[in-house]
């Protein structure tokens, strides 16, 4: 991975664009943006993780998901769960553009894995309680960052854009660890779909609800923003009509085609589970 970490503004752009002027921004830490608003009559809480150059934690200044980000996400989501305890469950929408988790000694000592677990837990708890959890991938969704913020949605949406990548590890690092060149990795990815860095290939795995075409992700036009709002609303409605766990992902065409081994395992394990 190059030592130059480019600081992305996509998360902030889309958070501010979608939350809009009417949104009520909640007090938080600078790296975790939270705003409540309505989206076509649905109450929503938007969440984004953005770079904070003044982050108390030096290894989390470029938008990485670190300690503060994990625990504050958890807090903001749990506050929404509590507030809606006896009423209608608002949608929780994660705007995702995270280069990775934070890599640092402070992070490991103070339990970044637990901070990540806390956010994961909050997202899952929201989902299980009946809140539609939606993720909109606008940039990077890498590894522990994505697992913490975005991966637990009922419905995942992503822009069909070269700047949108889902992966377990940045390309240079992955090349080094698997002892291949970047070119070799790219070649492998052509036939091994789960290794690809292209969002179109990620879409083939069947976990995405919608791959959104035709949007200028870095500088969206008003009609494009409206389209995205419509897509998010449709996703919320679809989530409300679906399962609260992640089983909907296994029903997709992509899963039927590219996660065959997964489906076989599940079927066979169920058959053997009780037999004696």
């Amino acid at each position: 991975m190059s030592n130059e970490k480019t600081i992305s503004t996509r998360g902030r752009i889309w958070f501010e664009t979608l939350a809009g002027k009417q949104a009520k921004h909640r007090p938080s830490v600078p790296s975790v943006l939270v705003a409540d608003t309505t989206l076509q009559k649905e109450r929503v809480r938007f969440l984004a993780i953005v770079p904070d150059p003044e982050n108390r934690f030096p290894c989390a200044r470029q938008g990485q998901v670190g300690l503060q980000e994990g625990w504050n996400l958890a807090k903001q989501i749990r506050d929404a769960i509590k507030a809606d305890e006896n009423g209608e469950k608002r949608a929780i929408i994660a705007i995702v553009d995270v280069p990775s988790q934070a890599y640092g000694r402070r992070e490991e000592l103070l339990g970044i894995f637990l901070a990540a677990a806390a956010a994961t837990d909050a997202y899952v708890s929201a989902r299980l309680a009946g809140h539609p959890v939606i993720s909109l991938l606008v940039g990077h969704a890498i590894s522990g960052g994505f697992l913490t913020h975005g991966a637990q949605a009922n419905r995942l949406l992503a822009f069909n854009d070269p700047g949108v990548t889902v992966h377990a590890m940045a390309k240079n690092a992955a090349a080094r660890v698997t002892r291949r060149t970047v070119e070799e990795l790219d070649k492998l990815a052509e036939t091994i779909i789960p290794m690809s860095y292209k969002i179109e290939d990620y879409a083939k795995l069947g976990t995405l609800y919608k791959l959104i075409d035709g949007v200028k992700v870095d500088s969206p036009e008003p009609e494009q923003v409206e389209q995205v709002r419509d897509d998010l609303s449709a996703a919320i409605a679809d989530a409300r009509s679906g399962q609260r766990d992640l089983s909907d992902r296994l029903q997709s065409q992509g899963a039927q085609k590219n996660r065959i081994a997964t489906l076989v395992v599940r079927q066979r394990l169920a058959a053997e589970w009780h037999s004696n």
């Binding site: 402070r106 000592l109 698997t178 789960p194 290794m195």
Partner: protein, 297 residues
């Protein structure tokens, strides 16, 4: 068995303290995943599901010139633990560093889901995760990532009904996305040999420099990630000797406690307060955090 740490905080890699122990204890660390599951389940109760002869191998490895393992590196074993119906999900750390792939992950996620169905039907089964893993298996990248998200989701759903106990014995430890899973367990048992962390020393050094983390410094590694440190600072519930009987006893004790009133991952206000109270303007040392976050305080 949870043991108090003798003397001053020592964060060197584990060494044998009493030679006589060596003769009587049965190491879990030295066993492979299947052997660990067999050792921990009551004698005669072991029943493996989706075993190697079913050849549910990774569909992605051969094309990359990587030799597959017939069980894809994760063993699902039903049986009894001290007479109670249990399932052990044991990750084989020796196969591709215990990296989670499509099939191994599916076995775990499916087992957790089936255990949930059992619990809802009033026939709960205890699930034990033997975590020996570096996280996502890179050769299956996005499917590994996806299935870890599914495991985490299923774990959270299951632990509302019956405790889920995680065990990290070593020597691979538990890193990457699976460290999140470890932290979601109702109870976590570690040995001194074990390590728990989101990122391994090498990748921290690579990303943030050798000053941040010298990946050759074994004392630092165990001081940060080792079982003793993790137990002392509240990230693990039990520090067990590397001994089958001792670890099994911790497992039984943990299940005996029932579902915790609050899970570690739910203690949001507590941890936000703790983080706010620490001066992170300087680099932190293991001993400093042990003083601040000692168990029981």
């Amino acid at each position: 068995m949870s043991q108090p740490t003798p003397g001053a905080a020592s964060s060197s890699p584990p060494t044998l303290r009493d030679p006589r122990e060596y003769l009587t204890r049965k190491s879990l660390v030295e066993l492979n995943a299947r052997e660990r599951a067999q050792a921990l389940l009551d004698e005669g109760s072991y029943r493996e599901l989706l075993g190697p002869f079913e050849r549910l191998e990774s569909p992605w490895l051969l094309q990359q010139g990587v030799v597959p393992q017939a069980d894809d590196g994760l063993i699902v074993a039903r049986g009894k633990i001290s007479g109670t119906d249990s399932v052990i999900l044991a990750i084989e750390g020796q196969f591709q560093g215990g990296g989670i792939g499509e099939v191994s992950g599916a076995k775990a996620a499916a087992a957790l889901d089936l255990a949930l169905e059992d619990a809802k039907r009033g026939q709960p089964v205890q699930v034990v995760l033997l975590l020996e893993t570096g996280g996502v298996r890179l050769q299956e990248a996005n499917l590994g990532l996806e299935v870890i998200a599914e495991i985490n989701s299923s774990l959270i759903a299951l632990r509302q009904h019956v405790p889920v106990v995680g065990v990290i014995a070593g020597m691979v430890g538990c890193f990457g996305g699976m460290s999140i899973s470890a932290s979601l367990c109702s109870y976590l048992i570690m040995t001194r040999e074990a390590r728990l962390g989101l990122n391994g020393p090498e990748v921290i050094e690579e990303q943030s420099g050798i000053e941040e983390f010298d990946s050759k410094d074994r004392q630092l590694i165990w001081g940060v990630n080792g079982g003793e440190q993790r137990h002392a600072t509240g990230f693990a519930d039990y520090l067990a000797e590397d001994d089958v009987a001792a670890i099994k006893e911790c497992i039984v004790q943990a299940f005996g406690r029932g579902i915790p009133a609050t899970h570690r991952s739910e203690q949001v206000d507590d941890y936000l307060k703790r983080l706010a109270a620490i001066d992170v303007s300087h680099q932190l040392e293991s001993s400093e955090i042990r003083k601040l976050w000692s168990k029981g305080e």
